[in-house]
C-alpha cells in the first residue's frame, strides 16, 4: 500500500510520521469495519441457521420431545434406542447400498468423457442430451421413473420384453427395488460427472501421450498411467460430493416408495429421520439419528481427505 511506503521515508519528521500512522490506523479501521459489514450476512446466517440449530440438536438428542411440548432429559436413551433399532440399521444399510451406484456411474462417465474428447460428429449435441437429466427436477424424474418401473405396462419392462426378458415388478420387489433406484440415480447423474471428466481429460497435456506413444505404450497403458492419474482430482471431488449427496438421499425414496418400499427395502436414513420427526413427532429421537448421520458423513469425508493426501489437493 502506497501510504505505508511514505511513512518509512526518512525525510519525514517524527511528528508527521506519528500523524500519518494515526491516519493509517484510521484508514485500516475503516477498512476493517466495511469488510466486517460485507461479511456480516453469511456470518449471521452461519450463526443463526447452522451453529445454533446444531447446538440445539445436540441438546435435543438427549431429550424425549415431540417438537411442541416440554423436553424431558433422558440422557443417552435415544442413542441406546438407536443402536437397538433394527429400522435404523436397515435404513443405514440401504443408504450405504445405494452408494454402489457411485463407482459404476463414475466409470461410465469417464468412458463417455473419453469418447466425447474425440472428434466425433455431433459431440456438442451428445453433451447436451446427456446433461438434460441433470438439470431436470428430481421430483419430476422420480414420478416419471416410478411409472417406467411399473411391472405391467412400464417402459423398462416393455423394453426388456423386446429381448424376451420378463422384467421384475421393480419397485414392488424387495430384491430389485434398490437396484432400480440406483439405475435411476446413475441415469440422472451421468451427465454431470461426464462434463467434469471431459474438462479434465482435455486438460491433459498432449505431449505426455506423445512421449508415451514414442516409448511404445499401448492405449491401455496410456490410459492407466496418464489419463487416470491426471483426472484423479476430479475423481476425488466426485467421490466426496457423491457420498455426501448419497447420504442425504430422500426425494426419490419418498416419491417412488412412499412407505419405504417392500419389506422396507428402500427406506433411506434421511427418509427414516424425516418420518420419525414429522410423521411420528419423535423429534428427540430423530435428532439423535440426524446427528449420527452428520458425524458419519464427517468421518467418511475426513478419511477420504486423509487418503487423498498424496494428491496435491488443497482448499486454496
Amino acid at each position: 500500500m502506497a501510504i505505508d511506503v511514505d511513512t518509512t521515508s526518512g525525510a519525514w519528521t517524527k511528528q508527521r510520521r506519528k500523524a500519518s500512522q494515526k491516519a493509517n490506523r484510521k484508514l485500516h479501521r475503516k477498512e476493517y469495519t466495511w469488510a466486517a459489514i460485507f461479511m456480516a450476512a453469511p456470518v449471521i446466517g452461519w450463526l443463526a441457521f447452522l451453529l445454533f440449530p446444531l447446538g440445539f440438536s445436540v441438546y435435543a438428542s438427549f431429550t424425549n420431545w415431540n417438537g411442541l411440548g416440554a423436553m424431558s432429559w433422558i440422557g443417552l436413551d435415544n442413542y441406546v434406542r438407536l443402536v437397538n433399532d433394527p429400522y435404523f440399521w436397515k435404513a443405514l444399510w440401504n443408504t450405504v447400498f445405494y452408494m454402489i451406484g457411485i463407482p459404476i456411474g463414475l466409470a461410465l462417465s469417464l468412458l463417455l468423457a473419453l469418447a466425447l474428447a474425440r472428434r466425433i460428429p455431433g459431440r456438442t449435441f451428445f453433451r447436451t442430451v446427456y446433461y438434460i437429466p441433470v438439470i431436470s427436477s428430481l421430483a419430476a424424474i422420480a414420478i416419471l421413473w416410478q411409472w417406467a418401473y411399473n411391472g405391467d405396462f412400464g417402459l423398462v419392462n416393455q423394453f426388456l420384453a423386446i429381448f424376451g426378458i420378463e422384467g421384475p415388478n421393480w419397485l414392488m420387489d424387495p430384491t430389485w427395488s434398490k437396484p432400480a433406484l440406483i439405475i435411476m440415480a446413475i441415469w440422472k447423474g451421468l451427465g454431470y460427472s461426464t462434463i467434469l471428466y471431459l474438462a479434465a481429460v482435455q486438460a491433459v497435456p498432449r505431449s505426455l501421450y506423445e512421449a508415451a506413444a514414442l516409448d511404445g505404450a499401448n492405449a491401455w497403458q496410456r490410459f492407466r498411467t496418464i489419463t487416470l492419474p491426471m483426472v484423479r482430482p476430479v475423481t476425488f471431488f466426485l467421490v466426496v460430493t457423491n457420498i455426501i449427496a448419497g447420504s442425504m438421499i430422500f426425494t426419490e425414496i419418498n416419491i417412488m416408495t412412499p412407505t419405504g418400499g417392500p419389506n422396507w427395502s428402500t427406506a433411506s436414513l434421511v427418509w427414516y429421520i424425516w418420518n420419525q420427526a414429522f410423521r411420528n413427532l419423535s423429534m428427540g429421537y430423530a435428532t439423535s439419528m440426524a446427528l449420527v448421520l452428520g458425524i458419519l458423513v464427517l468421518i467418511v469425508t475426513v478419511i477420504q481427505f486423509r487418503l487423498n493426501r498424496r494428491n496435491d489437493f488443497s482448499i486454496e
Binding site: 438434460i132 431436470s136 427436477s137 452428520g294
Partner: protein, 316 residues
C-alpha cells in the same frame, strides 16, 4: 463472456483506469475447455463406432423424457396402449389447460418463483460482497471466518432440518415461504468460495488505486469488482436457481396448504392424488411444466452453465 470491454470502470478516476488497463490478466471464461483436439491421428473408424455407441446411449438418456412429453399429450386410455404409443393419437392439448384449471400448478409456479428469485438475487448480492471482502479487503482473522463458513458445507441439511423447523414453528412461519427463503438468502458458501477464488486472480492494484483515489468500498465493489466478476456470478446464479427450483425436502417439511406449496411439492402430491384416479397424462403434464423452464434456461445458457460446472471440478 469476455470482460475486456468494461464501461463501468471507465467511470473511475484516470489513475485507476490506466492501472486497470495495464493489469488485464484477469480470469475469463473465454478459454473453451471443450475444444476438440486436432484429430489428425485419430482413427476414423473408431470414431464412427463411438458415434454409434453414443447415439444408442443418447436414446436411453432421452427416452424417459420424451415419454414424459408424449404421455402429457395422451388420453388416459392411450397410456396403457401395447406396444407403447410414442406419438400420441389423438394429441390431447387440453391436458395443458386442465392442469392449470384443476390443480395447484399455477400457484406452485408462483411460489417456486418467489422463493427461487428472492433467494438467488438477494443471496448473490450478499455472497459477492462477502467474497469481495474475503478476497480483497483487510480484516484480521478473515481467513478463519472463511474456513468457518466453509465448514458449513460439511453439515448436511437433514441434520439441521429438525431444529430449524422448530425455530420457525416457534415464530409462526410454518406454512409460509419464509423458512425456505430466510436461512439461505444470507449467502451461499459455494458461491462465496468460487467468487473469492475468481477474485484472487484480479490484481490487488486495481482496488488499491481506487482506495487512494478515495473511492468508498461500496463504490469499489460496484464499479470495479462487480463488472469483473459478473460472468462468475451469472454462472453460479443459474446453478443456484436450478438447485432452489428443484428442491423438495425443505418445502415438504414446511408447506401444508396446497396453495402455498412450491411446484415440486405440488407435482409430488399430484402423483399421489391422481395416480389413484389413473390420470397419468395430467401428472406428466405437470412434470413437463416443472422441467420446462429450467430446460429453456439451460438451452439458452448451455455453454456458460456447462463451463462453470466443469470449472467446479478444476477449481476445488
Amino acid at each position: 463472456m469476455s470482460i475486456t470491454s468494461n464501461p463501468a470502470s471507465a467511470r473511475m478516476a484516470t489513475t485507476t483506469n490506466t492501472l486497470a488497463r495495464k493489469d488485464r490478466t484477469i480470469p475469463t471464461f473465454n478459454r473453451n475447455p471443450f475444444a476438440a483436439r486436432s484429430g489428425s491421428e485419430e482413427n476414423k473408424a473408431v470414431n464412427w463406432v463411438l458415434f454409434a455407441v453414443l447415439s444408442l446411449g443418447a436414446i436411453f438418456m432421452a427416452a424417459p423424457l420424451l415419454w414424459m412429453v408424449s404421455t402429457s399429450l395422451k388420453t388416459t386410455e392411450a397410456v396403457y396402449a401395447l406396444p407403447p404409443e410414442w406419438i400420441p393419437d389423438p394429441f390431447v392439448w387440453s391436458n395443458y389447460v386442465r392442469v392449470f384449471d384443476d390443480t395447484f400448478v399455477l400457484s406452485g409456479i408462483k411460489n417456486s418463483l418467489i422463493v427461487a428469485l428472492s433467494v438467488t438475487i438477494v443471496g448473490s448480492v450478499f455472497s459477492s460482497l462477502a467474497a469481495f471482502a474475503l478476497a480483497k479487503m483487510r480484516l484480521p482473522g478473515k481467513n478463519i471466518i472463511f474456513i468457518v463458513l466453509l465448514s458449513g458445507m460439511m453439515v448436511p441439511f437433514p441434520t439441521l432440518m429438525i431444529p430449524q423447523f422448530v425455530m420457525f414453528a416457534k415464530i409462526g412461519w410454518v406454512d409460509t415461504l419464509l423458512p425456505l427463503i430466510v436461512p439461505v438468502i444470507l449467502g451461499n458458501v459455494i458461491m462465496i468460495f468460487f467468487l473469492r477464488q475468481y477474485l484472487h486472480n484480479v490484481p490487488d492494484g486495481l482496488v488499491e488505486a481506487a482506495k487512494i483515489d478515495g473511492a468508498s468500498y461500496l463504490r469499489i465493489f460496484w464499479t470495479i469488482i462487480l463488472p469483473l466478476i459478473r460472468p462468475a456470478i451469472a454462472a453460479q446464479f443459474i446453478l443456484w436457481f436450478m438447485f432452489v427450483w428443484n428442491d423438495y425436502l425443505a418445502p415438504i417439511i414446511y408447506l401444508n396448504s396446497p396453495e402455498k406449496q412450491t411446484l415440486q411439492v405440488v407435482i409430488a402430491n399430484m402423483n399421489v392424488q391422481y395416480a389413484t384416479q389413473r390420470d397419468y397424462p395430467l401428472i406428466m403434464t405437470a412434470s413437463v411444466i416443472s422441467v420446462l423452464p429450467i430446460l429453456v434456461v439451460f438451452l439458452i445458457f448451455q455453454r456458460q452453465i456447462i463451463e462453470s460446472v466443469a470449472l467446479t471440478g478444476s477449481k476445488v
